[in-house]
């Protein structure tokens, strides 16, 4: 009798608190209900009608529209288990069986508290079961009762995507578990590319936010976020969150970027700093990670295990200052302590560690994999395979990471010593040069987008601006349509880059793509007469040589009005100067490692080889480091995974032990004030020379209401990069201020009543303001440069039609 009673009760879906939005697809209902399946299904439908027919429940609506459950199945509408809790379910038919799809928010309400039970039931009055008998029950278990694995979480937080590795204590370097994150709010989850699973895309949109600050908002990340922003253009959307990680000193609070906090549903009052959203994105990513580790497929009826994360290890970009690193570390620590189920002792021991910079992580990955395959006793051959032809125990590796939003250049000096007694090797890394440009894949997309808009002007006479802030001449061309158009053009730019990087080396705008593109502007065209034009010329065609030609003209030197902002080509100008500087010191790189998605464009490899005067076999992508069959983790996303794996190997490299050594305390560049010239930025007044001991204080005179920029260059008369700017806010007094130049990139100044110092990210504005995706603005940095170049080159990409225009 007792066992029967037991059987009639619903099974428990066991979840752990603070593990994000948890889903269990295909959860079995209580066996006793099998015979009543049809009636239960019907009753649930009725109940749903009743729930949804009354006061509209926004949370339920969001679940219905966005939750990652199969919409092709025959299922009841979504129901809420309890009107006050974030527990949702629906019944679905699977052959003869009836199953449940269950959802719980483990960060809000009952799901956030261990020991809670939430029954899932349908109204009993419609069928024979007793009222108290549920279909299932959600049970929130204590963390410590799950199978715990103690270990470290290694994180590479990126602008376009983030990757996570969980390394169990005592596990070897190859046993680390890469987190395949699932997006709980993605109805198209089945159609997404499988390879993207390793990467948690970083862009986010707010799905639901409550005015109550204690309530954790619902956030959508990745491709789905991009789709949502098209239909909800006024919602808070954050693209490339990492670029907003910046510690703003009090004196500079005013320019700190802010944004409204508005969800698809709900909002919070006022403006919120972008850092708030970065924090939210980090929070969300950690929730994703915990959700995916405990419930990897969203089908587990109990947690697979719970990661007892004792240490979070972070990589960081080259340009983060000490204060930025500290800020991010604190942010991650705060999130971790909030989400991770630690007992008191573990909380005390918990640490967030900055493991190494991203390029060093890439170098560590390359080195580890190479040494591992070649084995320690064959290190000389391993080094020679990476370009060291002299046979010495060293390697200078230049990592060129052209990502989505920025390009990092780092020359790493690597030395090693083998411990014969235990067959281990100690490898040390020393950064001898580094630089960052906020010019990368999105700049290339911007060129392509400019070509697309010019094509639309030429062929269809579409002149309307896509700038989100610009009021349209045609009121029907709304922000939503602009978003749609921008999104479509961005998608085409990606297609173009893919095609140009492929074997055909050329991209042609297909008729279907053209129709889809022009359809975004239909309200501006009046009628559908435009459709006839599609099959006729001109046609848009971009080849690798055309694209390369454009990029080669994207240089600061061509446009004196750039305000010091470099173009894409300046990356290679810099590489050339870097090579000269290193050669003069006898420290030329042995090889160049190309990481980052954008380096898939072949001509970039040639450009890099040309700039550093190395043959192309010494310039290699991550896929070309080892023979194909010896590469682990597959080829997909190696650009991204190399950073997180490199960081993991850096710390848990087994017999290959890595350490980072700080650079020499001397300046390697000329540093001084800068001025514009017809050939780009140049140093005006050199105050520091290569070889001078670092740090050094310099005195700079700033006239009333003026700015003075400080920059650096490899050669006294060479191209300069801005590293800081001084602004005198007094309109009457001139000041001579003392600035401490700590190294080639870092500048520090004590507080001054009237003069403020803002540090720049050398290689471009540190906030990527001209991003087409963020603003819809085209060709603004500097204004008209792309259009001028494309006009000159019309024949190449518009064929014969270009000439006539």
């Amino acid at each position: 009798m007792k066992s029967l009673q037991h059987e009639v009760q619903g099974y428990h879906w066991i979840v752990l608190p603070k593990t994000g939005i948890q889903i269990c697809r295909g959860f079995p209902i209580a066996r006793a209900l099998y015979k009543d399946a049809e009636r239960v299904f019907a009753a649930a439908g009725t109940l749903a009608d009743k729930q949804n027919g009354g006061q509209p429940n926004e949370a339920l609506r969001l679940i219905d529209e966005h939750i990652a459950c199969n919409r092709e199945l025959e299922a009841t509408p979504w129901l809420q288990a309890d009107p006050n809790e974030f527990v949702f379910y629906r019944l679905r038919k699977a052959g003869d069986e009836l199953q449940l799809d269950l959802v719980i928010d483990t960060c809000n309400g009952a799901g956030a508290q261990a020991g809670n039970r939430v029954p899932v039931r349908v109204d009993a009055s419609r069928f024979s079961l007793r009222r108290s008998e549920p279909l299932a029950e959600v049970y929130v278990e204590h963390h410590e009762n799950a199978r715990n694995e103690i270990g470290s979480l290694i994180v590479d937080f990126g602008n376009t995507g983030s990757a996570f590795v969980f390394s169990r204590d005592g596990a070897g370097p190859l046993q680390a578990r890469i987190v395949e994150a699932n997006n709980p709010f993605d109805p198209e989850y089945r159609a997404r590319s499988g390879s993207e699973g390793h990467i948690v895309r970083s862009n986010m949109i707010v799905l639901r936010v409550s005015p109550n600050e204690d309530e954790v908002p619902w956030i959508v990340l990745g491709e789905r976020a991009e789709e949502l922003v098209r239909s909800h253009p006024l919602t808070s959307y954050l693209y490339a969150p990492k670029k907003y990680v910046r510690d703003w000193p009090d004196a500079q609070r005013a320019p700190e970027p802010t944004m409204k906090f508005r969800g698809v549903v709900g909002q919070r009052a006022g403006l919120h700093s972008m850092l708030t959203f970065v924090r939210t994105a980090v929070d969300q990513m950690f929730q994703h990670v915990l959700a995916s580790l405990t419930n990897p497929q969203f089908t587990s009826d109990a947690p697979d295990f719970y990661p007892q994360i004792r240490r979070v290890m972070l990589t960081y970009p080259l340009t983060w200052r000490e204060v930025d690193r500290r800020l991010f570390t604190e942010m991650v620590k705060e999130t971790s302590l909030k989400l991770l189920g630690h007992d008191e002792a573990a909380r005390e021991q918990f640490e967030v560690e900055l493991i190494c910079s991203e390029p060093v992580a890439v170098a560590a990955f390359v080195l580890w994999e190479t040494i591992f395959q070649f084995e320690v006793q064959n290190l000389r051959l391993a080094a020679a395979s990476l370009g060291n032809a002299s046979g010495s125990d060293e390697l200078r590796m230049l990592v060129l990471d052209i990502g989505g939003g920025s390009t990092d250049v780092a020359c790493v000096d690597i030395g090693w010593s083998v411990q014969r007694e235990d067959g281990s090797v100690d490898v040390s890394f020393q950064m001898i040069e580094s630089m960052r440009f906020n010019r990368a894949g999105d700049r290339i997309s911007h060129w392509i987008a400019t070509a697309v808009t010019m094509f639309l002007q030429q062929k269809y006479g579409i002149e309307e601006s896509l700038d989100f802030l610009h009021e349209s001449n045609e009121p029907a061309f709304t922000l939503r349509q602009k978003r749609q158009a921008v999104s479509t053009i961005s998608h085409l730019a990606e297609c173009c880059k893919r095609a140009v990087a492929g074997p055909e080396k050329v991209w042609k705008l297909g008729a279907d793509q053209e129709r889809e593109l022009v359809a975004c502007f239909e309200t501006l065209l009046g009628g559908d007469g435009w459709r006839e034009k599609v099959d006729h010329g001109p046609h848009l065609e971009i080849s690798d040589t055309t694209l390369e030609g454009w990029l080669r003209r994207d240089s600061q030197t061509l446009s004196p009005e750039t305000n010091g902002e470099p173009g894409f080509e300046d990356v290679f100008v810099y590489l050339g100067e870097l090579r000269r500087s290193l050669a003069a010191k006898g420290r030329e790189p042995h090889c160049v490692i190309l990481s980052g998605r954008t380096t898939r464009l072949d001509f970039l490899r040639d450009r890099a080889a040309h700039a550093v005067k190395l043959p192309v076999h010494r310039v290699r992508t991550l896929e070309q480091i080892l023979p194909g069959n010896l590469r682990r983790n597959g080829d997909k996303n190696l650009d991204k995974l190399a950073v997180v794996f490199g960081a993991q190997r850096f710390r848990f490299g087994d017999h290959i032990r890595f350490s980072a050594v700080p650079g020499e305390a001397i300046f390697n560049r000329y540093i001084g004030t800068v001025r514009e010239s017809r050939t780009g930025l140049r140093l005006n007044n050199v105050m520091i020379r290569p070889g001078d001991g670092a740090p050094k204080s310099i005195r700079v005179r700033v006239e009333p209401a003026r700015d003075v920029r400080i920059g650096h260059a490899f050669r006294e008369n060479g191209s300069a990069q801005v590293i800081a700017s001084l602004s005198n806010h007094s309109h009457t007094e001139t000041f001579e201020v003392e600035v401490d130049v700590l190294d080639d990139y870092s500048v520090h100044m004590q507080k001054h009543e009237f003069v403020t110092l803002s540090e720049w990210v050398p290689g471009g504005n540190d906030l990527i303001v001209d991003n087409f995706n963020d603003t819809g603005r085209i060709d603004c940095e500097p204004k008209g440069l792309m259009t001028r170049v494309l006009e000159d080159d019309r024949v190449a990409w518009l064929g014969g039609h270009g000439a006539s225009s």
């Binding site: 100690d426 050669a583 076999h617």
Partner: protein, 701 residues
């Protein structure tokens, strides 16, 4: 003893290196090559970098340094006071204070009456060292927080706390000016006769005095600048003194006469305590000085000044060495701590504590406590010290020594009676089944502990003498290796000699004659089918002419392959590249003269031999035949594919450099040729000596 021959050989090698790099830029043909080729000049400059290393600049005198490193309050000064009574009598070892300043005390031997015996030299940090510490992120952040402003001048640093936001009550205690200039000495300061015995002067240099007795006036005048005690605290890196080493020699003689001689060749370094105390007394320099102690040890290590490390820990206390270890790894890399074990002596101070501390006593007197918590050695040695010293797990020192001091033990009664009373207990610990026995055995010191007991029981030795004998013994065992490693390997001398030989070999033959014209002619003509301006040109050629045939060159899994199958495969690949070049040159109308082809072949074969060696094919350690499961064949195919291209690159590079140099109208006189030949001979001889030294002593692992 370190053989004189080794010291002489080290000096011959460094003199040869210094002579060659001094001579080469004076040779006209070499100077022209440097002007015409940025790569050549860069390579030469890099190979000259070792010149700046102190142990290349200065002759090797066979001295070995032993640094004593311990935390504040672990009795280091008390022990040194008893080991160097002369020094103590001169007031340089203050045992009655805890707030000592952060600097190293360097002690060298000088016999009594020697003119150098009284010499005291104060050395300061360089401006670069001071700047580096002042710019430490923690120091910058702390100074920023307290609004202490720092100005970095070329030859000084100014620290200004005029606007500091520190607590007023704190500021009220300050005695020095709020604005302090730190200007390092250009040359060391030779302490004058009167100052050497002036207690006030010595205390100003070594002790952080109480505010009530503090004199803020200048302590020394040097190079036209005056320095007060606070400035000296920040600037002084070390104070070097001489001592007759009377006790040291007596103790070492216990080992052998040679031991006493070796002891005289030791330099003892007393490093500042690992934990810093009374930072508030450092006023405006508090944040900087808070970091200085560890930085001293770090700098000593970075400069290769620490051959043997004596880590002194008070019995029952925890080692704080891990903070220093972490800092060293952070600053210098993990390799810096490589092999520390083989030159580390753990000196456990205060043996009496095993008998006087009830908690420790319980670990060998109460069986249950022993079972529960481990024996007294497991707790005091393993838990407190060896497992804590390194973030990388338990350290196994070369020697472990227990010692004690008169001053402390006499507080419990007469020293010899105290140890006579406890001797039996100590001896029991060496018996199987007794508490402590297993740990002593595990640590490999069961035998040495028996000897150590005798030394401890001897009131004239107190284990301090035993420490000296162990030190001398360790130096005898590893000193030669440490010296060669320090002077030849870590200075980069060995690599530089090899690199210089190779650099010269690029353009000169063994007779010192430039082979530019012939090489340029042959290489230039034979490689003219490659477009040197196009970085992809080599790749295209190799992809078409080499890659498709590589698979046939490498033995397969079940083939009968020789041990050196990798090297042989490389040889076949190089041959194929050469053939492909000839083929490219002799296709269609194109015909290269036989003489040119012959010269090319000669140059190619000469290079190929070097490539096989330098690129590691000669030493490849992969079992034969290749194993598909571990992918060695695939790896080799991968490297051959890369190195086929690399061969072409090396040849074109040499060709381009040779052309550049040849076009500069380079002419070589007889004298020029002879000078180059002589330098080549010098280099080769030095390289052979250096290689033999490192191999024989095991200095290069």
């Amino acid at each position: 003893m370190i053989p004189e021959g080794t010291i002489r050989a080290i000096n011959e090698v460094r003199e040869a290196y210094l002579g060659v790099i001094r001579a080469l830029p004076e040779v006209p043909s070499f100077a022209t090559l440097c002007q015409t080729s940025l790569d050549f000049a860069g390579d030469f400059q890099r190979l000259c970098e070792s010149r700046a290393r102190r142990y290349v600049q200065n002759p090797c005198d066979g001295r070995i340094t032993a640094a004593v490193i311990g935390s504040s309050g672990h009795g280091k000064t008390t022990i040194l006071d008893e080991m160097f009574p002369d020094l103590a009598a001169r007031g340089w070892l203050e045992t009655d204070v805890t707030d000592t300043t952060s600097q190293a005390l360097k002690l060298d031997f000088a016999p009594p009456g020697d003119p150098l015996a009284d010499e005291v030299v104060v050395s300061s940090w360089s401006i670069a060292q001071i700047k580096q510490l002042m710019a430490h992120p923690d120091v910058v952040a702390q100074n920023d927080r307290d609004a202490i402003e720092v100005t970095y001048l070329d030859d000084a640093i100014v620290v200004d706390g005029s606007e500091t936001t520190l607590d007023e009550r704190d500021l009220a205690e300050w005695r020095y000016a709020r604005r302090v200039e730190l200007r390092p000495f250009e040359r060391p300061y030779d302490v004058g006769g009167r100052e050497r015995s002036d207690r006030k002067f010595i205390r100003a240099l070594t002790v952080k005095e109480q505010a009530s007795v503090l004199d803020t006036g200048p302590v020394i005048e040097h190079e036209g600048h005056s320095y007060n005690a606070l400035q000296l605290r920040a600037l002084v890196e070390s104070v070097s003194l001489r001592d007759p080493f009377e006790r040291i020699q007596t103790w070492a003689r216990g080992a052998s006469d040679e031991g006493a001689e070796q002891a005289r060749k030791l330099t003892f370094i007393d490093t500042p305590g690992l934990a810093v105390s009374s930072v508030a007394k450092d006023e405006v320099l508090r944040h900087f000085l808070g970091k200085k102690s560890n930085q001293i040890a770090l700098e000593l290590l970075r400069n290769d000044d620490l051959d043997v490390v004596v880590h002194l820990v008070l019995c029952g206390q925890k080692s704080q060495f891990d903070a220093l270890w972490n800092e060293i790894e952070r600053e210098c890399g993990r390799a810096e701590m490589d092999g520390l074990s083989e030159r580390l002596i753990l000196a456990v101070n205060g043996m009496n504590i095993y008998f006087t501390n009830p908690d420790i006593r319980a670990k060998y007197t109460d069986r249950e406590t022993t079972m529960r918590e481990g024996d007294h050695f497991a707790a005091t040695l393993e838990d407190n010290v060896l497992q804590r010293m390194s973030p990388r797990g338990q350290v196994r020192p070369a020697r472990i020594v227990f010692l004690d001091s008169h001053r402390i033990v006499d507080a419990f009664g007469d020293y010899d009676q105290f140890y006579a009373r406890h001797r039996k207990t100590m001896e029991e610990w060496t018996e199987p089944g007794s508490p402590g026995h297993d740990t002593l055995r595990r640590l490999g010191i069961l035998e040495s502990f028996r000897e150590n007991i005798d030394a401890l029981a001897d009131p004239d030795d107190r284990g301090q003498g035993y420490l000296v004998r162990q030190l001398v013994d360790l130096v005898g065992e590893t000193g030669e290796r440490l010296l060669v490693r320090k002077h030849v390997v870590r200075t980069g001398l060995l690599d530089a000699l090899s690199g210089l030989t190779e650099l010269l070999g690029r353009f000169y033959d063994s007779q010192g004659a430039l082979n530019l014209a012939a090489a340029q002619e042959a290489l230039g003509q034979c490689l003219s089918f490659l477009d040197l301006r196009d970085p992809a040109s080599i790749d295209r050629f190799a992809a078409a002419q080499i890659d498709p045939y590589l698979d046939d060159l490498v033995p397969k899994e079940h083939d009968d392959a020789p041990e050196n199958w990798a090297e042989e495969s490389f040889g076949r690949m190089a041959e194929m590249v050469k053939e492909a070049i000839f083929e490219a040159n002799n296709s269609g109308e194109r015909r290269i003269p036989a003489a040119i082809q012959h010269e090319f072949q000669r140059a190619f074969d000469e290079h190929a031999d070097g490539w096989a060696k330098r690129w590691g094919y000669r030493e490849v350690d992969w079992p034969a035949p290749p194993d598909a499961a571990v992918g060695t064949r695939d790896l080799l195919l991968h490297t051959l594919r890369i190195h086929a291209r690399e061969i072409l690159f090396q040849l074109t590079n040499t060709s381009a450099e040779a052309a550049e140099a040849a076009n500069s109208g380079l002419f070589q006189s007889d004298l020029d040729r002879e000078t180059i030949a002589e330098n080549l001979r010098t280099l080769e001889a030095a390289l052979t000596t250096a290689s033999n030294l490192t191999t024989a002593t095991g200095a290069r692992r």
